[in-house]
Symmetry: C2
Subunit: 212 residues, 2 copies
DNA sequence: GCTCCGATTGAACACGTGTATAGCCTGGTG
DNA sequence: CACCAGGCTATACACGTGTTCAATCGGAGC
């Protein structure tokens, strides 16, 4: 019984890493090779390829949710970067990136999770006064998160080219430090020198203003 | 002779649309069906599937470069949105989005182009005083562009699900208006209430700066 | 020692893919 | 009318894919 759970986990770990390296389209047989088992056994355990993907999704989501609480940061990209530093988690981070790249329902869910986290973080920052208040905190958290994750996904190698898991920590660290300064500047000093544009748009469409 | 060029263009147009709808992995036979020709003919004209992709890349890049000059905006996502409004260009925009999603060299080149444009636009804004100066204008243009495009790519349907070209104009307009306010707020009012973080980082690593 | 049961395998199947090739049809020309 | 060049099609081939299935292996229980 525990034997079953063990091979399950073994296969899932191999799948996670292979999918991270080659993308979510990596053939079953390659995953099987990595795990040192036959392709049929994977089917025997998971039933179908999509079910294996779903299991990877669930696992990645669970890890992300669990580890997220240990690190407090509003920037989801920074969070993934930090997670990737622990080489144990590099495959998970790679898989998450690939999943975000491929789209689909889990990508939405992951983004949603990150958005919620960012919202909470930003609200806390507002409370302590380090973060400026927003007219629409939820929307702000969402655009901040989607921009950070999206920019990260754009850096990924193509669907064809492999993602080097061993190099992932350095890769993400380099990217983080590369964008740190401009992003920080952007968050500290307003890009636009005056508020006329914002005010114009605000005056134009106050759809749900005033009285509830 | 002109006949050949005509079918070439016909096939290429069909390929562009099909790849936009189904993603860059859409099978040749489906493109052939759309174009009303046989799969062999596509091979006869383009030699190989990858060559067809390359031709689509070249065409999309050319259109993007040509039409870009007609619209002045620093936001590449807004530019694509505006382009998509002309239904003639919807397939090209869809293809560009799919290409950005799939990664690869053209994605890099497209992003690079958009970055250059954004840099020029921002520089002009600096000149007229509407855009605040930056410590590293090139890097700022790059993160702004990658964030805008990346966030847009994250909104795309998954690799499997189709992208509705007829709905693309409305789809992109809705997205634009949805993020307009939070983005504008972000660009008008600094997210961080003070500059201590930025200054700390600046003090920590001034690799090519004059003052210690 | 024997039996039995589940994990595991290797071969096979059905299908979809890109590509090569032999032939067909059309339209222009003597 | 005969002919023929070439854009174009239909078929075929080789290959890779997910999945199935009968056979095999290994060990726990009597």
């Amino acid at each position: 019984m525990s034997d079953r759970g063990r091979t399950d986990e073994h296969i899932l770990r191999a799948a996670l890493a292979r999918f991270a390296v080659e993308g979510l389209r990596a053939p079953l047989r390659r995953v099987a090779e990595d795990a040192g088992v036959s392709a049929g056994l994977i089917i025997h355990h998971f039933g179908t390829r999509d079910a294996l993907l779903a299991a990877c999704d669930a696992h990645a989501l669970e890890i992300a949710r669990r580890e997220k609480t240990k690190v407090v940061t509003g920037d989801s990209a920074a969070l993934l970067t930090q997670l990737a530093q622990a080489e144990e988690y590099a495959p998970v981070v790679g898989y998450v990136l690939r999943r975000l790249q491929a789209g689909g329902p889990l990508a939405q869910q992951l983004v949603g999770d990150f958005v919620d986290d960012a919202a909470a973080y930003l609200a806390a920052g507002e409370e302590t006064g380090t973060i400026s208040p927003s007219r629409d905190p939820k929307a702000r958290a969402q655009v901040l998160t989607e921009m950070a994750l999206g920019a990260l996904v754009l850096q990924l190698p193509g669907d064809a080219d492999p993602l080097d898991l061993e190099d992932l920590p350095r890769w993400m660290r380099d990217y983080s430090t590369k964008i740190l300064l401009p992003v920080l500047e952007l968050y500290t000093q307003p890009l636009l020198t005056d508020a006329t544009l914002l005010e114009a748009v605000l005056a134009e469409q106050p759809p749900e203003g005033g009285t509830p």
